[in-house]
Symmetry: C2
Subunit: 91 residues, 2 copies
């Protein structure tokens, strides 16, 4: 559509990486402990992970999803101890 | 409702913490560089943040939201350089 509307040229992929269930999560444990020290009761479990937002030169959400999953498997997540999921949004 | 349905006794809060726009993000830069080295072209920008999942002894989503935002401001995020958002889901 040339003219007055600009199609997005990039898509944003959000890769969320979390420790797998059963894997020790010292960062989560430390946060739970610190919250207790600050007086917060009623915190049952805390798990800490990371999120990586990637702006990709890609206009097809399905391709962006595949690409981001590939990046997650090869670099962003250690799939032995971490699971990941990918969400795609316009950037 | 006593009997055959068990209401969830905890709610899961997901706190996502990202570097604010304009704040240097060395981890994101390192990931972008590593993706380039692995042969991925077309990666425009990468930002790395963290995600903390908290299982809270709380049944009211609005209260859980307020509690998690309070925790984020006091402990989980450094609001000088990081922004955060809170999502609530049943756990």
């Amino acid at each position: 559509m040339p003219g007055n509307t600009a199609a997005p040229k990039t898509l944003r992929a959000r890769v969320t990486v979390m420790p797998k269930p059963g894997v020790l999560d010292p960062q989560g444990k430390a946060i739970a402990h610190a919250l207790g020290n600050l007086g917060y009761a009623g915190v049952e479990e805390v798990r800490a992970g990371k999120v990586i937002e990637l702006d990709l030169h890609e206009t097809d959400p399905a391709k962006a999803q595949t690409l981001a999953e590939d990046m997650a498997r090869k670099l962003l997540a250690n799939t032995v101890i971490e699971s990941f999921r990918v969400e795609i949004a316009g950037a």
